[in-house]
Symmetry: C2
Subunit: 241 residues, 2 copies
């Protein structure tokens, strides 16, 4: 059986930030699968849309927005079965993944179910991490910087502990955790040069200094804060190296 | 002056892992610039080669492989002047960057010199980080994992300290630091599931379990070790969430 399940990174949002390889695969597979909320659009499918030739079978992987484990398990089990059924009848399947499939993506839940039962190939994509840095002209890390990626839902003490020893930090999944991030960044002396970004590279993208955001700002889930210990001083510091 | 300096991420090595946006820009700019050692090929240019239309002016940014700061300063000063001279005569310039321009790339030294004097746009690219994870089918991070990117040249004690509190770690610039990484990973109980990768997505790519590498293995600079605290157990752990 040589049919393949492709985990295809479609990039951070701008359809032009997809790779040539991803676009080639999307143009030729007979079946695509994509994650979506219970109702409404799939972000991954929207990003991929300009690259889809039409006429493909589509598998929607609709996930209830609750944090219980059982619905999610059932949804991924069902999606894995649906995908395997196509593989067994000789059709390749591309699973669309926002950003990169293995960088905080939900693809790995499917991968865990499929890896032993089908040929899986992962096509890496541009992550929101580097897209946010590019969009805001904020260099992420250089030379021997330690870069730490911190999911904002973690406990405040854990975030503070990880921030203490890093040169550069990227907080992902910011959403309602914004006030907590402000506190830990202030405590670490990294608040001043921190940059807030939402929906990087999409039409509705926004970015500004964290310190300019209103106290009660309602950040969406797809948002990020980039911070650097050397703050704005990095240009001279690096230039002098 | 609306001419633009583009910092263009060309991706990790496979020319097909360049973005559509990067390919479009490379096809139309009259001038390209690329980093290279004093003698020999530019990796960034080699990756970009299939996407260059020919007939472009090329600026070589040749860097002596010594760690002193003064030659590097002079080389970047000279390159920035060369690039600005083209901008001032109405020509866009694309600077080719391996991987992503702001993820441990040398582009930021040019950026520091150009940002105040020209319009700069950064085109993010697929980094070797996610490319290595994809190539080895090693999920990098999921859910609320803390992911730490650690340059291998750092001191052993610093690496050990940062490794202690992270779920996932990526060591970059491995080269001659491989024995040190083995020690800190063993100490952290993360050696067993660690994966070693060199030249990810290039024709000469290689990957294997770190524990399978000979004791005296001669790792190149462009190599990486990915490690995860949960090791191979992640599949079941995540599937059960």
């Amino acid at each position: 059986m040589s049919e393949t399940v492709y985990g295809v990174g479609v990039g951070p949002g701008d359809p032009e930030l997809i790779t040539l390889k991803a676009a080639r695969i999307l143009a030729r597979v007979p079946v695509i699968a994509w994650p979506a909320p219970l109702e409404g659009d799939s972000l991954a499918r929207r990003i991929a849309a300009p690259h889809l030739p039409g006429g493909q079978e589509e598998i929607a992987i609709r996930m209830p927005m609750v944090e219980a484990r059982f619905p999610a398990e059932q949804v991924y089990d069902g999606a894995a079965s649906d995908i395997l059924a196509r593989i067994e009848t000789g059709r390749d399947v591309a699973v669309l993944c926002e950003g990169d499939p293995f960088f905080y993506g939900s693809f790995m839940y499917l991968f865990a179910r499929l890896a032993e039962r089908a040929t899986v190939e992962v096509v890496p994509g541009v992550s929101s991490l580097t897209a946010s840095a590019a969009m805001t002209l904020t260099p992420l890390s250089s030379r021997n910087d330690v870069l730490t990626v911190l999911p904002a839902p973690l406990a405040e003490a854990a975030l503070a502990a990880r921030l203490a020893g890093t040169d550069a930090a990227a907080f992902i999944k910011v959403g309602r955790h914004l006030p907590k991030l402000r506190r830990v960044l202030a405590q670490a002396g990294m608040a001043e040069a921190a940059v807030y970004i939402q929906h990087a590279t999409m039409q509705r993208q926004q970015a500004r200094p964290l310190s300019d955001l209103p106290e009660d700002y309602d950040a969406p889930y797809f948002s990020m804060v980039l911070a650097h210990r050397r703050g704005q001083a990095w240009t001279e510091a690096e230039a002098a190296e």
